[in-house]
Amino acid sequence: MNNSIVLSGNIQFLKLGELLQLLGANGSTGILRIISNYSEIPGLIYILKGNPVNATAGELTGLDAVYSLFGWVDGRFEFSNETFDAKHNIKKSRMEIILEGIRMLDNGVTDRIGPVTFVKDKSKTTGIETTIPVIKGPLIDYTYVVDEEDYHDNETIVMQGKHGAWVWIILGGTVEIRKESSKGQVSICRIGAGSFIGSMASFIIQGSVRNTTAVAISDVQLGVLDLQRLSREYAHLSSGFQEIVISLDNRLNQGAIRIVDIESKKTIPNDFMAGKEPFIKQGSSKSEIYKIEQGKANIVRSENNNSILLGRLEEGDFIGNIPFLNIGHEPDSAAVYGSEDFDTVEISIEELQSEYNRLSPTLKNMIANNANLISATTTMACELFGVAKRKKTIKNK
């Protein structure tokens, strides 16, 4: 670590606009580095007495680079207090840059660089425009890639219901994840470079059954992962951590099933919910994590006056706040309702956190990717739910 770093943190917490205001008010001189998992080279902004004078981001330099950095919404920043010799090619005032930068972000001129990008898509089944998220992963750790494979556009990579334990990482191209339903295939989400194909359940059950179908929707390059090495690593984890990994997988699968349910207009009774207080309230600041010992739990998101069931968890699953992951569920964005015989036991967060910190980058990426997928399928399910409801009201009128 460089000793001259005087300020560092999470860019999601302190956004670039606010950061530039802060450094500006302080009249600081130095280099602001923005580090994103989704870019190999950090973005740099050179700041002289509080004013940005030059910047680089990928191939861009100067003002264009600063504007593009507003799109780096996920990552870290570091400010080092140092003198530099960079050309002064930004003449605009600080506030003008900030306002223009966020305007371009709001207008969609600047691309958001993060785990999820959204593609506008006219859904064939509904005719109402929905957005299909494309989930990307962070940079690829090639030490785990043992072989490369190419798939052509429209080729099926894995098929739901078939046995198989290979796990791939996408090196290039886009893959669509689909699930079979009574009314044909339903698209769940799209994944791009850095995302994984194959569930983490592959580590425990050799030859497990595929939950979904993965189809290449462009020419795709895949890296076959060293499954033995990953399985070995997985086997060395504590049993508690292993269970969390599997539970996350289950939750993702539940999300995919919900999308199919909503698409095929199947309604699930919200039993054991009516009139009951939730075990975890949506928006509460509860930071504990629990394992379900007995009974069932419904994960429910309330949005625009709708209560949307996101999944049903059972004995052995985990609920609550997983500190190192953002799955977009409870406690911030969903509530948990327990059944009559519901019982839980609290799990120590510290141990989980320290175990997570010791994971290899690839396993860490896999888990984080899984969390992003959960969050994206949830968004998708809620959006579809809203669309279905709107259509229903139109019909009724």
Partner: protein, 204 residues
């Protein structure tokens, strides 16, 4: 919350002009910029957003003098009204110290005014601020339109619509002519400083 710049010995506070689209926020600021040239160091930053403009400049209200040996610098902002500019609105409203709510006197804009005020309350709430506590003044803009025969609402009606609950100072205005502009800003500044004094326990 105002920012104390220790290096420059300045207190920086932020006043935001809020209101429905095309109600005259930008015209308000443009008028202030023109008429108070001497008190403004630096340029007016104008960002074109679809159908509206976001303005920003620094303003030094000379008549207020120093507080505890610090100069007071006021940053004046407008917010873009359109829904899509949520990041911009959020950044602009963050740490706001005082608000001038510009309402449109035209009959046809009656509902827009109320919606915008509600939106303000909602946005403030996200920052844990309360519309009943934050320094706020209302300006009933476009009074001059009456002369041109365009139907406008009476002051009483607007008071009832917008000011029944919040009960803040209100001023008729005409941003185009410059009437009432200075008054509403001054009143907002006064309230803001009183509020800061109270918050910081600087008894006069």
């Amino acid at each position: 919350m105002a920012v104390f710049n220790i290096k420059k010995r300045e207190i920086e506070c932020k006043i935001v002009y809020y209101g429905p689209g095309r109600c005259g926020k930008t015209t308000n600021l443009e008028y202030i910029f023109k008429s108070h040239k001497k008190q403004i160091d630096g340029e007016m930053v104008s960002i074109n957003t679809e159908g509206d403009r976001t303005l920003f400049f620094d303003f030094l209200p000379l008549e207020l003098g120093k507080i505890k040996g610090c100069d007071v610098r006021v940053q004046l902002f407008t917010v873009p009204g359109q829904v899509q500019y949520s990041s911009t609105r959020k950044l602009v409203l963050k740490g706001v110290d005082g608000i001038v709510f510009v309402a449109d006197s035209m009959e046809v804009r009656r509902e827009k005014n109320m919606l915008s005020l509600k939106d303000l309350q909602h946005n403030l709430k996200e920052y844990n601020m309360n519309i009943f506590k934050i320094p706020l003044v209302l300006q009933y803009n476009k009074r001059d339109l009456a002369e041109e025969g365009i139907p406008i609402m009476s002051i009483e009606k607007m008071e009832k619509d917008l000011n029944r609950q919040i009960k803040v100072p209100s001023f008729p205005g005409s941003a185009v002519k410059g009437d009432g502009i200075g008054k509403s800003l001054q009143s907002c500044l006064q309230l803001t400083l009183q509020y800061l004094n109270k918050q910081l326990n600087w008894t006069k």
